[in-house]
């Protein structure tokens, strides 16, 4: 299999190859330096949190909003008192509380929430579906977001330096380059995964930034973009596929299967979608055609050189693990950071797939035990005491409240994290679920975590492995929950026993569910097994243009419409 090609390739190709080689050492250095800085801060977490909070106060104290509210008085607090004074002075906020301020900020492009210019607005879907505005400020980009992504890549590079061996070793699907189509008072409004255009020399600039599969002129639709990526890397010595969601890796294989004929023909002819591209490679085309004839082909057969993949692997994303093992056997894996558009929470520093250290140099973090009804207390205007990172107890779940240096202070994110363990006083955490995302016919408030745990238990009783599933409320008399779950042993005869086992398990996991079942206000949960790829295919069918990179699998559905679209075994 050919590796790097020489710079005597076609002019356009040699241009980006030259940029790749020019950039490699600098990129490697930046990423490893950022990782070292993170490790140093993890060794002194209190100092890091104090520094971050002082920075947040420093960047916001002179802002219009802080002056209007009198928060600027915080600058008089000594370092020892700042964390306490900060929590006493400033209220816990929800995104909606910031909306009027963000509208002012949109007009001034800085100065309202922080004293840093807003370079871009980051788009993220709110739970209501209305896109949010997250200010992407110069200070936040330089001092926080860039160090975070570099530190994560520093970990990838520390454990797998081969991913920068040559220009074709890495396929990055974490980020894209697309021309923005939406503007807020003249300023681009786009997903954080869209790194186009670069804002300045401090912006994200991996060596493949000018690679032909990464350019903005690659088609925007998920399938077509993927086709371009696959085609351009077929026959190359690909070592690493970087993704955010595991479904992207599953989708990659599905699309190779779906577009077998076109890919083989393009490879044979030296074309891309029929247009000249690269040299004809009939040998590789024949090899690909033979292996794709097997419906169970693996990505490691397409690219035998693969040594690494990365994506989210905790929480509901972990349900993909069996599928990933099947298509990427023997390939090392590393997790993607735990983050949202609003900010980073945890960054991988090693090969731990379950949890990652709280990224103490990224934000000022506060926590509230998950069992406390935070929303109700805030609605009632009550004061809520928060815990700092060193007051958390391993094994427990917490609401996350995060202050970022982009102006979104004390933001109740709605995310609930589990503390796995602690190292050097730093909690290692993973995302469990969204607060308030539950099913409840009659007050049982069934969470995704509840159902996953009950399913795992029920499946284990029958000697089955749990894969992807969907769960929705079925409005009958009495109402009940309906689950469709993948299994290689799908059969109607198993469904009854499995449903009983999961019903029992759910009653143990959620005492309100048990109570409602006892009083017959709820019918028993029903579990139907479906073939292994059925849920995955359904999930992929929901991926649309515009949500390709950030598209997430969500086990909880608003209704049971999926039942009619997933074929029975």
């Amino acid at each position: 299999m050919p590796g790097a090609r020489s710079l005597s390739a076609e002019p356009a190709e040699s241009a980006w190859l030259a940029l790749w080689y020019d950039r490699r050492a600098g990129f490697l250095s930046e990423c490893l330096t950022a990782r070292s800085a993170l490790l140093a801060d993890l060794a002194s977490p209190r100092a890091a949190q104090d520094r971050v909070l002082a920075d947040i106060v420093g960047i916001s104290a002179s802002s219009v909003h802080w002056r209007e509210q009198g928060y600027d008085a915080l600058v008089a607090s000594g370092p020892a008192d700042l964390a306490q004074a900060y929590r006493e002075f400033l209220p816990i906020m929800r995104y909606d509380d910031f909306v009027p301020l963000l509208e002012r900020e949109a007009r001034t492009k800085g100065g309202v929430l922080t004293c840093s210019p807003v370079l871009r607005w980051l788009r993220t879907s709110g739970t209501t579906g209305t896109p949010k505005l997250v200010p992407y400020t110069q200070h936040w980009l330089l001092a926080y977001r860039m160090p975070a992504i570099r530190a994560m890549w520093g970990t990838y590079l520390r454990f797998h330096p081969e991913i920068l061996a040559h220009p074709y070793t890495t396929l990055d699907t974490q980020t894209v380059r697309e021309d923005a189509g939406d503007f807020v008072h003249g300023v681009e409004h786009q997903a954080i995964s869209n790194r186009n255009p670069r804002l300045h020399d401090g912006d994200w600039n991996p060596p493949w930034y000018e690679a032909p599969w990464f350019l903005p002129d690659v088609p925007r639709g998920h399938e077509e973009r993927m086709y371009h990526r696959i085609r351009q890397l077929l026959g190359r010595e690909l070592r690493y596929i970087a993704a955010i969601n595991p479904s992207t890796l599953i989708s990659l294989r599905c699309l190779i299967r779906e577009y077998r004929a076109e890919l083989v023909e393009d490879l044979r002819q030296g074309t891309l979608r029929g247009q000249p591209w690269g040299a004809p490679d009939p040998q590789e085309a024949a090899r690909l055609d033979r292996l794709l004839a097997d419906p169970d082909f693996r990505l490691t057969q397409v690219w035998p050189s693969l040594t690494l993949y990365s994506c989210w692997l905790a929480g509901s994303a972990g349900l993909y693990q069996d599928k990933l093992d099947a298509i990427l056997p023997g390939v090392d894996r590393l997790p993607f950071m735990s983050c949202g558009t609003e900010g980073v929470t945890a960054i991988p520093v090693d090969e731990n797939l379950v949890s990652q250290p709280l990224s103490v140099n990224q934000a000022f973090y506060e926590f509230v035990p998950a069992e406390i009804p935070l929303g109700e207390l805030l609605d009632a205007g009550e004061r809520v005491e928060t815990l700092l990172f060193d007051e958390l107890v391993p094994g427990r779940d917490y609401h996350l409240i995060m202050s970022q240096a982009n102006g979104l202070y004390r933001l109740w994110t709605g995310d609930i994290y589990h503390v796995d363990h602690a190292v050097d006083g730093v909690p290692w955490i993973y995302f469990v679920r969204r607060d308030g995302v539950f099913h409840s016919f009659t007050g049982e408030k069934l969470t995704e975590a509840d159902v996953t745990r009950a399913l795992r238990q029920g499946f284990a009783e029958l000697g089955l492995e749990l894969g992807l599933y969907l769960c929705g409320p079925q409005w009958e008399e009495p109402p009940h929950y309906l689950v469709m779950a993948e299994s290689s042993q799908a059969s109607a005869t198993l469904d009854g026993r499995l449903s009983e086992a999961v019903d029992r398990a759910l009653a143990q996991v959620n005492i309100e569910y048990a109570s409602k079942r006892d009083s017959a206000r709820l019918g028993p949960i029903r579990v139907r097994l479906v073939p292994n790829q059925a849920v995955s295919d359904y999930v992929e069918s929901r991926r649309t243009q515009g949500n390709g990179t950030q598209y997430k699998y969500k086990p909880f559905q608003q209704d049971t419409a999926f039942v009619h679209q997933i074929p029975a075994p």
Binding site: G111, C115, V118, H200, D201
Partner: protein, 301 residues
Amino acid sequence: MFEPTGATPPDIRREIIPVPCDDVALDLHVWQPPRPRAAVFYFHGLQSHAGWLWETGPRFAERGVALFVLDRRGSGTSEGARGEIPDAATVLADYAAALAVVRDLIGEETALCLFGHCLGGSFLAALLKSGTLHVPYEAAVFCSAWLGKLHATLSEDQLRALACDNGTQPHDVGLSAADFTADPRYRRFIDGDDLAIRSLTGRSRAALLQLEAMYLDPEAPALPPDVATAFVSGSADPIVDLDDAHRTFIQLTAGRGEIALLPTDRHYLLYTEVRDRLISWTTDFISAARPRHAVGARRHG
């Protein structure tokens, strides 16, 4: 798109500083790099405000230059009646107050360039000629400014009528985004900007006439000879009669100023392909202005 330099960009301070002026609070918008080597004080035009300069501020800062923009009374985020320009003395006092704040912030050693865009050039000219500005400055740039426009385009009768106009009815200012820029993105922004001024009262136009008269008056004090002055615009401008504007500029500066033309036919240079050239040119102009003396590639006089 930015031009890669390989240098780490500065962590720019973006502040909105309140400047109390009589009974209203005016907003002084700031983009400031660490340890600026120079500063620009920008007089915005009739329609625009500081919120139009979100890309300009960081680009000046990347060159080590701080940018200050006062949202004029009634404009942008400042207080004051919309569509109203107060009498000349009030407007000039507002600017003088803001400039005093700026000089205080940057210190005596940092070069200060006063930069008037379009109608902002008229305010700048009036301020310089009024004798009311006691803040030292090193350079003055008039950008796409039709200096003396009312006097050049109105008849004697119309000028007399306008001088007495005390009307409060709003009149459309008749500006088109297409004249400002050819870039659809900026056109959409201008058309949708709810802070932009779209109309002006009759008495406001009278105030503008009053301001013009101040700098057109041949008896007005001359500009300090050690201040570098320049007029810069596109090679053509759909809003400004450049020949007339140049004549007024030459008269204003007694022929000691520089005139520069950049290759665009649109009015708002900062929303055209010459933006970075304008910023670089201005930065170089300030640098050359220190110590205070006039320099220029093209002299008129």
